[in-house]
């Protein structure tokens, strides 16, 4: 199956699809708070997530991956482009429909310490989405609650406690149970293990895999950690400065990365016990500001494969470079 740049959402088994999605944050300055510029956090991104798969979204801080994730589930309103869920255009659906959609799309955040309301107990935290999004009666909610805590390996005596009484790993379990409570089909996991220790991370990743299998969940897994992405994802999208640089099946991406940015990213991963860094690509400088991104290819200011004016003048598009592998680089034109 080859991936075209623009997806015909209805014809594939895409659960969630983005078409040229943009999200700008206005910058207001001066005493009159006039709108003077935009932070182009997400700037024309197209991709799809297939039913039952885990799509990894990887990039450095500030590249817009979190914003993209939240925009895709309409926690943020897109500035431009279209978003399709299960074939339906949800870009500007009514508030009522959006609430219904929340049952299908849930999110897990990076820091469970701050994503759980500190003034609520565990039982309330987990049942809250059911109370507001479903018409289930109290018994049904209670039954589901007990089912869930068993699922995520919490205990009944935890239910009356406040979130701060738990370790990071357990807090993330509570957050997962909360997200799972309304039986969603898609879960956006926004750096779900970055705040955790490695030994706890392993447990959470295992739990997420088990739940995916059991409930046939689809994940959009956002992370900056390539090793974690490689471990858990079926396909991976690499993001740089608000745009997608490359999308490919995980094994292809890690074996034969195409985009110069992806290659630099991969070679930058510290490697335990490796034959050291002779072939390491060290990028110069840091990521430019999304407020005033470079012209043409946004990566050209740091690119080690810079091939001339075309990189500065024309923005490369995602083109197919092999089986389900697309890359946005003039190098491959």
């Amino acid at each position: 199956m080859s991936l075209q740049r623009t997806q015909d959402a209805e014809s594939t088994d895409a659960l969630l699809a983005a078409e040229e999605v943009q999200k700008y944050f206005p910058i207001r300055s001066g005493i009159l708070k006039r709108h003077t510029a935009d932070v182009k956090a997400v700037d024309g991104v197209s991709f799809e997530i297939r039913r039952g798969e885990t799509l990894g979204l990887v990039g450095e801080s500030g590249c817009g991956k979190s914003t993209l994730g939240k925009t895709m589930m309409r926690l943020l309103d897109p500035t431009g482009g279209r978003i399709y869920f299960d074939g339906e255009d949800i870009t500007d659906v009514s508030r009522k429909r959006l609430r219904q959609l929340r049952r299908d799309m849930q999110i897990i955040f990076q820091d469970p310490g701050s994503s759980l309301n500190p003034r609520m107990n565990v039982a309330d935290l987990i049942t809250e989405p059911m109370r507001s999004l479903t018409d289930w009666d109290k018994t049904k909610r209670q039954n589901r609650l007990y089912e869930l805590i068993e699922e995520v390996d919490l205990q009944e005596n935890h239910l009356t406690r406040a979130p701060h009484e738990f370790s990071g790993g357990q807090q993330q379990r509570i957050a997962i149970a909360r997200a799972l409570s309304v039986n969603p089909s898609l879960i956006v996991a926004d750096e779900p293990t970055s705040a955790l220790d490695v030994s706890v991370q392993a447990k959470i990743l295992n739990l997420m895999e088990d739940l995916q299998e059991k409930y046939n969940l689809t994940y959009l897994f956002i992370s900056h950690d390539l090793s974690v992405i490689k471990h858990i994802c079926d396909r991976v999208a690499v993001m740089y400065l608000g745009e997608l640089a490359e999308v490919a099946p995980a094994d292809r991406l890690f074996e034969t990365p195409k985009h110069p940015y992806t290659r630099a990213l991969l070679s930058g991963v510290p490697r335990a016990n490796a034959e050291r860094m002779d072939d390491r690509i060290i990028l110069d400088g840091s990521v430019p500001s999304p407020e005033d991104p470079p012209s043409g290819c946004r990566f050209h200011t740091r690119c080690q494969e810079y091939i001339g004016d075309v990189c500065e003048t024309s923005d490369p598009e995602l083109d197919a470079v092999g089986d389900g592998h697309v890359c946005a680089c003039h190098h491959y034109d």
């Binding site: 589930m73 309301n117 701060h164």
Partner: protein, 308 residues
């Protein structure tokens, strides 16, 4: 909190790992209240404050039983008598017992403190909430109102309002409330804005909660402790302002035994009968220290991150 700013993912900072199942932190609201109380009790100043405030409340409640005389009872046989066993705080120019007047004055202090802070809180918290939650023009408008109010010195504004309304208890309440709400508004707006930045608000949106539910279950509970602390610390200010306005003749009017008014009346006799002005002043001071101590203690107890 700079002890062991150790590991990126250790948000406790003191190297304490969270214990999960073995967690020793007590559970539930009741336990939370107990923790707060325990922390208050560890702070000597706060304990002192609590004692003073309780004593004040008891005095106000049982004033008729504590005071040996009627507060307005005049006695021309005992004019300006210095403190004695019979009149512990002496008598004033009309022979009224200063002690009894100060005891009854506690009722005004408690009443004014509680009522005015209540009104300020009602106005300030609502406006602050609106400004912080909705932002945009609502916020701009409300904050402009706060700016305007802040550029007129508090007593000046209160004086103008109270004076124009003609003096007395009711104008005093209106004047001080209309001046004091801005503090609550600023505080609550700031708190709400920082709560709105928290990830749990996004989590509430993902759970499809209504604005009302977000406000009542997320925003207000998380801003509550700072509101409580601020209210406690505002009571002494309000008591000082009320006494000040009464002292200027623009609040509670003599012969009513309000502390500021008693003080004002004793002002002319400061050289011949120092006790008339001294004791109500001490009463105000003690009350203010009491509430400040309690407020300080509450702040430390409710927010252990605060530098002590």
């Amino acid at each position: 909190m700079s002890v062991g700013h150790s590991d990126s993912d250790d948000d406790e900072g003191d190297g304490t790992p969270k214990g999960g199942q073995g967690s020793r932190v007590a559970t539930g609201q009741l336990a939370r209240a107990r923790t707060v109380l325990r922390r208050v009790m560890q702070n000597r100043f706060a304990v002192f404050g609590l004692v003073v405030v309780v004593a004040l409340l008891v005095t106000a409640a049982f004033a008729p039983w504590i005071a040996p005389y009627e507060p307005t009872e005049q006695n021309y046989d005992a004019l300006k008598e210095p403190p004695s066993l019979e009149h512990p705080f002496g008598t004033d120019t009309y022979g009224r017992d200063v002690f009894s007047r100060v005891v009854f004055g506690s009722r005004y202090a408690v009443f004014l403190g509680v009522v005015i802070v209540g009104i300020e809180m009602l106005i300030g918290v609502s406006l602050g909430l609106l400004a912080g939650y909705y932002g945009g023009w609502t916020e701009a408008g409300i904050m402009r109102l706060v700016d305007i109010s802040l550029s007129i010195p508090a007593i000046v504004l209160a004086l103008a309002i109270a004076g124009m309304l003609g003096g007395g208890l009711f104008p005093l309440i209106v004047a001080v409330s209309l001046v004091g709400w801005r503090g609550f508004a600023r505080l609550v707006r700031g708190d709400v804005k920082s709560v709105m930045e928290e990830e749990y608000i996004e989590s509430a949106n993902a759970a499809g909660l209504s604005d009302f539910r977000v406000i009542t279950r997320y925003v207000l509970p998380n801003a509550a402790s700072s509101i409580i602390v601020y209210a406690t610390l505002t009571i002494p200010t309000v008591i000082l302002w009320s006494a000040g306005l009464s002292f200027l003749g623009m609040g509670v009017q003599p012969p009513k035994p309000e502390w500021g008014a008693i003080l004002a009346a004793g002002r002319g006799d400061i050289d011949s009968a120092w006790w008339i002005a001294t004791f109500p002043g001490l009463a105000i001071m003690l009350t203010v220290i009491g509430f400040n101590g309690l407020g300080d203690g509450l702040r430390d107890a409710l927010d252990p991150r605060q530098v002590r």
